[in-house]
Amino acid sequence: MDFLNIVIAGVSIGAIYSLMAFALILVWRSTRIVNFAQAGQAAFSTYVGLSIETATGNYWIALLAAVLSGVIIGAIVEVVIVRFIVKHSTSAATAAVAPVIAMLGLLGIFQGLMGLIWGGEYQAYPTAFAREGLIIAGNQIPFSPSDLFVLVVVVVAMSVAALVFQKTSLGLAMRAAAFAPEVTRLSGIRVSRIRTLGWAFAGGAGGLAGVLVAPSTFIAPNSFDLLLVFGFTAAVIGGLDSLVGGVLGGLALGIGLAVVTGYLGGSFTFMTAFVLLIIVLLIRPQGILGARGARRA
């Protein structure tokens, strides 16, 4: 297979990993928690999208519903659960792991709820665009209109996010709250509300990622675990503290995995991600763009 084709194939899926990494990094920066429940939130939002799509037959309304539900779920999770955990974290031995475990518990609840509401069988998620490769100059490349759509959506979403962060007061407040919460409070900004917003945005991003990835795999309550691991890997590769890094990490991961799949076959895809993660954690734990000393939480 042509190398260029492979790279192109990897870019679109890499964009989805970037979205997932974005969601994880956003939460990490604002609350210092890796939200392992993100997979469950994203999956739940995707299922909501599926229900809406089945009811209305309209892909776009479903997309909106999925993102919106992601936002709402993210906000609810922060207000109900995370605030409690953060307030009660002591210097006890389990303090460092408590948020992680709490998120895992939450993930289990989400997965159970999804099974309860929608059943455990694999279901197909519809797509708005064709999934066969585009034909350019008489050759078919492994990049379909659907892939193009994914890429465009992710680019737009990331650009909007970048704009909000860099150019608006809200973005300024969010960045400041993540870097220096006390100073931000002393500047009259309600940091707790900002945090909720951060989780809400992350939830929306996760929901979007779920809907974008759903057509290419059948969805089931557990099917987003892989997306979580890949998203986490992408975030680590790029640097857990850097949103831009996460985006780059996602693309790098997507392309890297496409290369491996193209030359070695699909069964090694997961192992490659795993090996990449371990290598990055060993050699450069702060990721490509992260700051030094970020290895320990």
Binding site: L172, A176, A180
Partner: protein, 238 residues
């Protein structure tokens, strides 16, 4: 508006940081709160600004009971706390740090926020030169100016300053204190200045409060404290 502290007692775990403190901060003056390390000065400021809750006693800002409010709300009553340690957000630029001080008023009074920012640049020309630079490229003195500048954006009626001179060269300290004095005279704001550098602080202050191991030793005219050699020897170390 006047700040009235009555019977304020603050505990840090098992340690009593402040015992039964009672004093007034008169409007439109500079009050220096001085004393040795660990005397309870920083804790007092952190409790006024709501970062810490007192064990007992009250803090009244005119009729407003500050001990019932959240930090973010206290800022909105006109009290701004510039904590110790050159508290700037190092990952943001100078301009962004200043803008941060105005975010809470952004929607209601954008033009005044912009006016306040340009006033800060006039007050601290060094900051104007470095507008686009990241805060971590600034020197210690510049960072302190930036922290104070950020506080000023909120147009405070009461400015709480926690050891602004800490770790700075004497010349820089003088410069900052002179600026504070000028600022107070031109705006009429009240300044509560916590300092270990008692001499410099008392020189620009009209009132002094001396703390020792959590107790208010004396609250009096600043000149009187400066002239009281016995007091100075006992509690201020000079």
């Amino acid at each position: 508006m006047t700040l009235r502290v009555r019977g304020l007692t603050i505990d840090h775990g098992a340690i009593r940081a402040l015992s039964n403190a009672t004093f007034n901060i008169p409007k439109g003056s500079i009050t220096a709160v001085i004393g040795a390390n660990g005397a309870g000065k920083s804790t007092l400021l952190r409790t006024i600004s709501g970062l810490k809750r007192a064990t007992s006693g009250s803090i009244l800002w005119d009729e407003i009971a500050l001990d019932q409010l959240q930090t973010e709300q206290i800022v909105r009553t006109g009290i701004v706390h510039v904590p110790e340690g050159r508290s700037v957000v190092t990952e943001l630029t100078v301009a962004e740090n200043l803008a941060l001080g105005g975010v809470w008023r952004q929607r209601t009074n954008k033009s005044d926020v912009l006016a306040a920012i340009s006033e800060v640049y006039q007050l601290f020309p060094r900051l104007a030169e470095r507008q686009k630079q990241r805060a971590d490229t600034l020197s210690g003195g510049e960072r302190q100016m930036l922290a104070i500048g950020r506080g000023l954006i909120s147009r405070p009626q009461l400015l709480l300053l926690d050891e602004p001179s800490l770790g700075l060269a004497p010349l820089v300290v003088e410069q900052i204190f002179q600026t504070l004095s000028k600022l107070q005279q031109s705006t009429g704001m009240t300044i509560l200045l916590v300092e270990q550098n008692a001499m410099s602080a008392l020189r620009i202050a009209s009132q002094g409060i001396v703390l020792d191991q959590g107790r208010v030793v004396i609250a009096d005219n600043a000149k009187a404290i400066m002239n009281d050699t016995a007091l100075r020897h006992a509690y201020l170390g000079y």
